[in-house]
């Protein structure tokens, strides 16, 4: 295990009824790096992410965070660990009962003693960091898809977490918006050297941001490496996926 492995996943298994979603996932996430997990839709990428933050518990296997086994933790202990994480959901999962400012400031309101004024200051600063100005009072219904993701990212990083998880950050966005999200990911990550874990099936996006790519296929990580390594890797499954072909070893239903 490399000394910088922040999150270590060992033999993670999860089934829903008869369907094996994760079938022994092994993966190291290095500190301060961007790890991108790629794979087809419905391959269980989201489930993997949800295990890391404890939304799901595995049937078998462990996840370690800095050597601490988080999968064995009780809910209350896990809640302390969760404060070190931020997560951006696929649909951004903004609270529609609150304004944009209320959404971004929500974790601060729940977990800190900051005054409303101070909270709004932090909120404004985080929103600026994701490229939004003067949107605090808007309702979430007024936001476009790309803006929702930005607000979701601002909310995910508002507590300055050590690790941020991204569930399909570019799904449903046009290519230009996807590219700007990629820039945003790189900008926000570089500044604080936060550890990012993303799942996506957007290949150009992956090539642009990844320090490490891991491919999830049929419940296992079949290949992993840097962008250059993955581009050269001859594994036919990986090749088919990266090149986006319908013919090949992966069967299309």
């Amino acid at each position: 295990m490399p000394p910088s492995a922040l999150i270590k996943i060992i033999g993670l298994k999860k089934s829903f009824g008869p369907k094996k979603v994760l079938d022994g996932v092994d993966l190291d996430v290095e500190k301060g790096k961007i790890t991108v997990i790629i794979g087809r839709s419905g391959e269980g990428k989201s489930f993997l992410l949800k295990h890391i933050i404890g939304l799901l518990r595995p049937d078998e296997g462990q996840i370690f965070l800095e050597g601490q086994e988080i999968t064995a933790m009780r809910e209350r202990e896990f809640n302390e660990v969760r404060k070190r994480f931020g997560m951006l959901f696929q649909g951004a999962a903004l609270f529609d009962s609150m304004s944009v400012g209320g959404n971004v400031g929500f974790p601060l309101k729940e977990h800190t003693d900051l005054s409303d004024e101070d909270i709004m200051k932090v909120v404004g600063e985080k929103l600026r960091r994701v490229g939004l100005v003067g949107v605090e009072k808007m309702t979430t219904a007024e936001l476009s898809g790309g803006m929702k993701k930005r607000v979701g990212l601002a909310r995910a990083i508002v507590m300055d977490p050590e690790i941020v998880l991204f569930d399909e950050p570019t799904t449903g966005l046009d290519p230009i918006m996807s590219d700007s999200i990629a820039d945003l990911v790189l900008d926000t990550q570089r500044e604080l050297k936060t550890t990012y874990v993303l799942i996506t099936h957007d290949i150009p996006f992956t090539y642009k941001i990844a320090d490490k790519i891991a491919m999830l296929h049929e419940g296992k990580i079949i290949e992993q490496g840097s962008v250059e390594e993955m581009k050269k890797n001859p594994n036919p499954v990986l090749r088919q996926f990266l090149e986006g072909r319908a013919e090949g070893p992966i069967r299309v239903y």
Partner: protein, 257 residues
């Protein structure tokens, strides 16, 4: 054929027990969390406003017309053996002991219960509840507890309103329309109705408040299957809570008579 039939009975029984167990667990967690600081009064007040204040109009309408029809029917029936003077107590007792709490319960279930299930269900399917968890916020404490508190506190208050407008409605019909002597009407009502009659109704409505909010939160919280699932959760909440209100009403009445 028979086997498939039996299996489907077994499956639905299993589902029922599972749901009952999950709901009991959720209720237990919620009760513990009510007493766990910090208490977020803002959320509680918001829900109280939603369950209570915003239900006033519908409750006033229901109560007044029920009181009115009770007076009309009561008068018709009591006249047959010359007991028209008892219309007042008939209306007041029916309202306080049964119709006040039950009708309030059913109406607010239709209004607030369905809305709660829909809101929580939508939050579930759009991952907003998951988002709460990832932000280290306990979703039961944040979403369920304020709603249950609001239900338990506001249902009795709404019942008081229903009782009152019902009695007023009965008075208007009995005295103004049917010509019962106002002094007799009010005097008889005061003679017959005791505080314990009103309290019986309020105890019941507290339980109804718990039932409605608990069922709605439970169904919303465990919604699956997108927009269709949200609709299902709302319908199921209203039906389940309404039936539970009527059944528990009978059980409580048989103990409190």
């Amino acid at each position: 054929m028979i086997r498939a039939y039996l299996e489907s009975i077994g499956r639905s029984a299993q589902r029922f027990v599972e749901a009952a167990g999950l709901m009991a667990i959720m209720l237990m967690r919620a009760v513990v969390l009510v007493f766990t600081p910090p208490v977020k009064f803002r959320n509680i007040f918001k829900q109280m406003e939603f369950v209570g204040v915003q239900s006033l109009f519908v409750v006033v309408l229901t109560g007044s017309f029920t009181g009115m029809v009770l007076a009309l029917q009561g008068y018709n029936a009591l006249k047959r053996f010359g007991a028209e003077s008892l219309v007042g107590p008939t209306v007041a007792l029916s309202m306080a002991r049964e119709l006040g709490p039950v009708l309030t319960g059913l109406m607010v279930t239709g209004r607030a219960g369905s809305a709660m299930a829909t809101e929580l269900g939508t939050m579930r399917v759009t991952e907003q509840i998951d988002a709460l968890v990832t932000m280290a916020v306990n979703p039961v404490k944040y979403l369920v507890v304020p709603r249950i508190i609001a239900g338990v506190l506001m249902f009795p208050l709404l019942t008081v309103v229903t009782d009152f407008v019902g009695v007023v409605g009965g008075y208007v019909i009995g005295v103004q329309l049917l010509g019962i002597n106002p002094g007799v009407y009010v005097g008889r009502t005061i003679d017959f109705v005791q505080v314990s009659d009103i309290m019986t109704g309020l105890y019941k409505s507290t339980v109804f408040g718990l039932i409605t909010t608990m069922v709605a939160c439970f169904n919303g919280f465990y919604t699956t299957g997108g927009a269709e699932g949200v609709g299902r959760a709302a319908t199921l909440s209203v039906v389940t809570a309404s039936v539970m209100i009527l059944v528990s009403d009978y059980i409580m009445s048989s103990f409190m008579i």
